[in-house]
Amino acid sequence: MISKKDVEHIASLSRIHLQGPEVEEISKNLESILGYVNKLQSLDVSKVEPTTHVLPLKNVYREDQIKPSLPQDKALSMAVEKSHGAFAVPKVIE
């Protein structure tokens, strides 16, 4: 069972301010989806390694060289609010 409190907790972890009827609707949806996903619980995976990537990938290293990159003004061009060449956000520290 997923309670309303669980849904609000997951919403908070997801940084989504769920409101009104959406809380109940999403809790119903999650319940039905998790009910389906739970079929995995019947699978014996005690001797199986987890697969995060399907290719035999290795970490990719590169030389520590300075190369052209996105200039600051371009990187900031889509910012909602900017100040002194940086992204500006609501006040964090009083």
Partner: protein, 478 residues
């Protein structure tokens, strides 16, 4: 005949013979879009281009559509989400760079399910696209705008992206060719991420020859994508041979089960006969963990999505909503209200499902279990490909469904991807090609899968099938 009804290779031939110009092709295409896109709604934005006539003989100046999740410098790209409205990227995706070198003409971006999360293109902040074969039906998804554009001749060819079937299922629903390449074959740099270990960009075309041509352009190693495979360049047009003699193709019994539409099953059975006549051998095989595919996918994909979509927080770009009053702190309130306003229902659902399976207390039971199930699914394919050159299945269990039919039942929608999801989990290449029509004249898709980097095998079988049938010549009448 209007030029926009041709394939890219037919246009390339006419250009070479100086029987047409890129400008004429582009003009025909735009005229056609103006007449029809009000009903199909394939495109979400247009970006008019001036055509340089000196390109006509040098490369492939083909008017094409790009799914709304690939970055073109200075052109709005939104993933069909309110949270990215107005976003104009400062750089090109690698696939766009490669296409530009071939003088591709980008008509505009096409509709999709928000952040590629969906199977019908109904989860778009712009509203749904319509299937050109029957405007009351969905085009499939999530690359439904791109497939509808190609099927309705509003683009000569297009790019889509495929995380759990988002190229192949809409290609099947719209009666065109769609290829999901092996994970790592096509660079993901500049593709707005949904689930990074599953996402691949791929071609959507009117026939198999065009598929090989477009794959030739977009495939290849890219240092900007750390998961890009560094392998020698292949010319995929070399695989276009009408010859499947002696090939061994597996028919997985787990794919021919309850829920598979009779007409789809019959079309696939007939397709097998066509290829058998051409010299291929078919045997029943087993992929025993097939039934866990959808469940595994919705754990792995949503977990990755919950992390990837954390970047939409109202700080660097996109939407920002300032909170009315302080609940937590002004900054956290801004994040939470921006995301609540900017994301649609399905995206919120998936972010929350992913957050849940990664959260303390549930990680082992869900996420870790999902990764282990993924291992078993991949192993199933490895075993079959030890003995077989390819696997043949339906692309989707039904033909295109009606708009609105499944939009209130997320689980029913997820199950429409039941045959396509495993290829993403296993990282293998898979193609959907037209293989018939239902009584209602809705297209049916045939799926072929092969081992990693065996795109040439898929193209060879698909090409042989195409040469021995005429489904790909059936045209939409709008």
């Amino acid at each position: 005949m209007n030029l926009n009804e041709l394939t890219a290779h037919e246009i390339a031939d006419l250009l070479k013979q100086k029987k047409t110009t890129a400008k004429e092709v582009y003009t025909d295409t735009l005229r056609h879009i103006e007449k029809n896109d009000g009903r199909v709604k394939a495109f979400v934005n247009f970006s008019p281009k001036t055509i340089d006539p000196s390109n006509d003989l040098t490369a492939l100046p083909i008017p094409m559509a790009i799914k709304d999740n690939m970055c073109i410098e200075g052109e709005e790209v939104t993933c069909c989400s309110k949270i990215l409205k107005g976003f104009k990227p400062a750089y090109n995706a690698t696939v766009i760079e490669k296409l530009k070198k071939n003088n591709a003409i980008f008509i505009g971006h096409t509709n999709m399910d928000e952040f590629a999360m969906g199977s019908s293109t109904e989860n778009s902040c712009y509203g749904p696209s319509h299937n050109p074969w029957n405007l009351d039906c969905v085009p499939g998804g999530s690359s439904g705008g791109s497939t509808a554009a190609v099927a309705s001749n509003e683009a000569i060819w297009a790019l889509g992206s495929d995380t759990g079937g988002s190229i192949r299922q809409p290609a099947a629903f719209c009666g065109i060719v769609g290829l999901k390449p092996t994970y790592g074959l096509v660079s993901r740099y500049g593709l707005i991420a949904f689930a990074s270990s599953l996402d691949q960009i791929g071609p959507l075309t009117k026939d198999v020859t065009d598929c090989a041509l477009l794959l030739n352009i977009i495939a290849g190693y890219d240092p900007m994508d750390s998961t890009s495979a560094n392998l020698p360049k292949v010319d995929y047009t070399q695989a276009l041979k009408n010859d499947v003699k002696g090939l061994k193709i597996g028919v997985p019994k787990e794919y021919f089960i309850e829920g598979l539409d009779k007409e789809v099953k019959e079309a696939v059975t007939q397709s097998i006969k066509v290829l058998e006549k051409a010299g291929a051998h078919f045997e029943e095989v087993s992929l025993p963990h097939t039934e866990y595919g959808v469940a595994t996918y919705y754990i792995v994909a949503t977990a990755e999505a919950s992390s990837n979509l954390a970047r939409y927080d109202g700080v660097q770009y996109g939407l920002r909503k300032m909170p009315g009053q302080t609940r937590k702190t002004p900054l956290v309130d801004m994040y939470e209200e921006t995301r609540d306003l900017g994301f649609g229902k399905e995206v919120k659902r998936r972010i929350m499902l992913g957050t849940y399976s990664l959260s303390s207390g549930y990680y082992d039971a869900y996420y870790l279990k999902g990764l282990k199930a993924r291992h078993l699914i991949k192993q199933d394919f490895d075993k079959v490909f030890e003995k077989y050159d390819a696997i043949i299945t339906p692309t989707a269990p039904t033909t295109a469904f009606k708009i609105g039919e499944k939009s209130n039942d997320p689980l029913a929608m997820y199950l429409s991807d039941i045959y396509t999801i495993s290829a993403n989990l296993a990282g293998i290449p898979a193609i959907s090609i037209p293989c018939g029509f239902s009584k209602n004249k809705m297209p049916i898709g045939l799926q072929l899968m092969a081992k990693p980097f065996a795109e040439d095998m898929l193209l060879r079988i698909a090409y042989t099938y195409e040469q021995n049938t005429s489904w790909h010549k059936e045209k939409v009448k709008l």
